[in-house]
Symmetry: C2
Subunit: 500 residues, 2 copies
């Protein structure tokens, strides 16, 4: 297998032509071409090594040899479908069952987290005979039609909110309506869900489910306050609904202390449905839904077959089993506790030096560092976060941002991330943040943004451009707009007059 | 990798406990445990060989060594996601583009046919800004919420028809409203779609798309009449909609003469969107949507990213490339023409001997043989078809049925199916059909069905049973109900009185 067939420029040119442009590249102005990887390290076409801080999918490390071996062995023996009996699927379901509370004992295998969440929605609706869904603000649950409907992060930019969707405030104790100084934020945020249920009932609507990531990722690496999930589960069940824990980003030991992030909420909380994805196959397309006997029975009682062509095939299950083996054998949960703990400590130390770091939060190898303009207002430092990510790339560290304002630096590295990796990243962040003041105030910086704005505006010809520009600014250049408006006092009207 | 971990009974017991019962097994009363496979042959836990006539997913043959080799090589090098530049995705898109009309030149990679059809729906709606969809009766387009809505085969058993879905008659010239004696069934059936569009417009509704498999499979291995697609494409485009060709079952050379089944409709017909799945990765979870620059541009213009975690990863694309290589190197399209042609001839010969065979239709290795009670009425011989499938299993041939009445024996074998395999199957069918008369009239047969009915009824206790029985009969025991009603004159009221 050749490392590279085309020169990077040619790859980029073919990609722009052949692949839908909605599929975006990291570092779109100067994307990275990665040709091989091992563990937590990526290598570009020139053999340059990058430290990978974000590939949570490659959970046990890129290209783990025991996974390749088990996958190839099973590919050589048999790949079929679930209409034939096979041991792998039952072995694998049995292993997953051992990680979960007893009541979550029935499994459905699918090909992606999106397929898992869609099936969870079908299960919840079939079981409860209700339609409506409560979700958290800024949530993202997948790319399918049904999931965009329950993802405020997406539907706000597209068709808008459906009448059967109810959006609860994100229980973010740093930015939200109840903060770290509230005596019981778990209860307070749970009450917002209770109010939503009551309002829905007044309109004659019926709740099928509460859907939430056990640690909201796109929302900004949020850690739920104590007691939050348990109380919501009570409210939702009283309303005849079920609790769906989306563990697609957070499962398989990422939090270290527990196998599933929902377990951080205590042993007296158990969801009714759990969805799994991303790390489950270390990059191989597999995903899963776990649920109770009662919910599965209601789905069966519809009398309609559920057949997923590739879901649960012997190769996918062999890979799933191999991932579980590596997590255990290499004590990756222990590593997440040790390295994640150390990384968080280092970031907290940096926070004492750099006023830009407003908050450091997280658990295991799921950590967020939020940048703010100033600590009093907690105004998100979006542009500074983007600058930090760009600068880290120059230092050969791959990092990205998340959160409603893209102001949260998110750490979700392969679980073999080491103490040395953590120290290297923090040393780089320290250096970059030392110079960030200069960056922010530099004339050069303002000039560059103005030039980019000119380019954006000029690329739109004629009538539609105002809406297009607004749209672009909203979506692609949010950072730019924010910066221009706040720092330079340039309004959109001003821009329109200038470039028309 | 062990061939077997548990004894078959234990596997079955674990499966019933751990895997949702909506996931059904072939031959549910005595399922087959397959532990290895090669080419067109499956092997059970006792080493017994089965000839596989239905695994269209394992397109180039089970466990093709060159696929395993390429997959393992890429797994060892890199598996990442489409946010990094990589050659495999552009190489693969380029190769797929070469099989398609020039206008279908933009690609999106996903993990399953269902994900592909869901994305096609999103693309169509975003481009046309219309919502409504026209589908064919009995169609199945996938297991996702959005696709059950456009699959009469499923929604008739579940929530029913949405107001934005319009169902056109299946252009089945054997059973449908226009038959083989019609002077121009293509035009006549296309006109039914035109009428649907006109009706929808009268209600103020707007058509986003016409969705159809290029050869309806669940509908009963249907071959579209000449001119059908081209005229529908004209009508749908006049209405501001697009034509979506679902090639998930039919693509990649299955029809032999062409790479895509829609190409059977002539060079002057080109869909606006093509969805691919099942055979694309020989069992590896990969799927694809191809569309035009205009539709892709409209999707991009929404400003919203489309990110599919596993879709288009370097391993999936390496496997996709390897499948294309094998199709070419082993001339599998040529094989489909030769073997499929021979198989169809043999079945047509059997038709001259067995009045039960009402119709033989198909192209390449996509063939349907429809059984009927008698040729004049064309009444489907559902139970006889089930009997034939059961008997073929005893002869170690895996076959299944399709069509609205499960009366169509469907051939969709791996593309390496040989002349000898075709002859073996036809010899077996000939022998089984010779004895089928005895089977049908036997008292033993009637007794067995009555016993089964008793068991079904007794398994339901108390109040709900009538609706449950109706439901079960409709879904799981359609065959039984039909047989009891037609052959024994046993009505449901009769049964209720007897077993209450």
């Amino acid at each position: 297998m050749a490392l590279e067939v085309f020169h990077k420029d040619e790859t980029l040119q073919m990609r722009r032509k052949l692949i839908g442009q909605s599929c975006r590249l990291f570092f779109s102005r100067d994307p990275v071409k990665i040709v091989r990887a091992r563990g937590q390290y990526l290598y570009d076409e020139n053999g340059m090594q990058y430290l990978d801080c974000i590939s949570n999918v490659q959970h046990v490390g890129h290209c783990h040899p025991s996974l390749t071996q088990d996958a190839a062995a099973q590919m050589d023996l048999l790949n079929s479908n679930t209409r034939f009996l096979h041991d792998n699927i039952v072995l694998y379901a049995d292993r997953l069952a051992a990680t979960l509370p007893k009541k979550l004992c029935v499994f459905y295998f699918v090909n992606s987290g999106s397929e898992a969440n869609d099936l969870a929605l079908r299960l919840a609706r079939q079981y409860t005979r209700h339609q409506d869904v409560i979700v958290l603000d800024h949530a993202y649950h997948g790319h399918l039609t049904s999931l965009i409907d329950i993802s405020p992060y997406k539907f706000r930019k597209l068709e808008g909110q459906k009448e059967w969707v109810h959006v609860a405030p994100l229980p973010d104790t740093y930015h939200g309506i109840y903060r770290e100084d509230h005596p019981d934020p778990g209860q307070a945020y749970a009450d917002t869900v209770k109010s939503l249920i009551d309002e829905a009932h007044k309109k004659g609507r019926k709740i099928s489910s509460f859907f939430a990531e056990s640690l909201p990722s796109v929302g900004g690496q949020i850690i739920f306050p104590t007691g939050y999930c348990k109380r919501i589960a009570e409210y939702v069940r009283e309303a005849g609904g079920v609790y769906v824990a989306d563990e697609i980003q957070t499962g398989f030991g990422r939090v270290g202390s527990h196998f599933w992030a929902f377990q951080l909420q205590g042993e007296d909380f158990c969801p009714d449905i759990v969805t799994m994805g991303k790390p489950i196959g270390n990059g191989h397309p597999i995903a899963c839904v776990a649920t109770t006997e009662e919910i599965a029975a209601a789905f069966t009682a519809s009398g309609v077959e559920y057949f997923n062509t590739f879901g649960g095939n012997p190769v996918s299950c062999a890979i799933g089993l191999a991932v579980l083996d590596v997590i255990e054998k290499e004590d990756l949960r222990g590593n997440a506790v040790r390295v994640g703990g150390h990384l968080k400590q280092l970031l907290l130390q940096l926070q004492t030096k750099h006023p830009l770091i407003g908050d450091v939060r997280g658990v295991g190898l799921f950590i967020g560092m939020e940048l703010v303009k100033d600590r009093a207002s907690r105004k998100p430092a979006t542009e500074e976060a983007a600058h930090l990510v760009r600068r880290l790339k120059e230092e050969r560290i791959v990092m990205s941002t998340d959160g409603p304002w893209d102001s949260v630096i998110k750490f979700k590295p392969p679980m073999c991330f080491s103490i040395e990796d953590a120290e290297r990243v923090c040393t780089c962040i320290d250096q970059i943040l030392r110079d960030v003041g200069d960056f922010i105030s530099s004339v050069e910086h303002k000039r560059r943004f103005l030039t980019q704005t000119v380019a954006v505006c000029q690329s739109y010809n004629g009538g539609e451009w105002e809406s297009r520009l607004k749209h672009t600014m909203k979506q692609k250049q949010k950072t730019l707009t924010l910066y221009l408006q706040s720092q330079l006092g340039v309004s959109m009207v001003h821009l329109r007059d200038r470039w028309r």
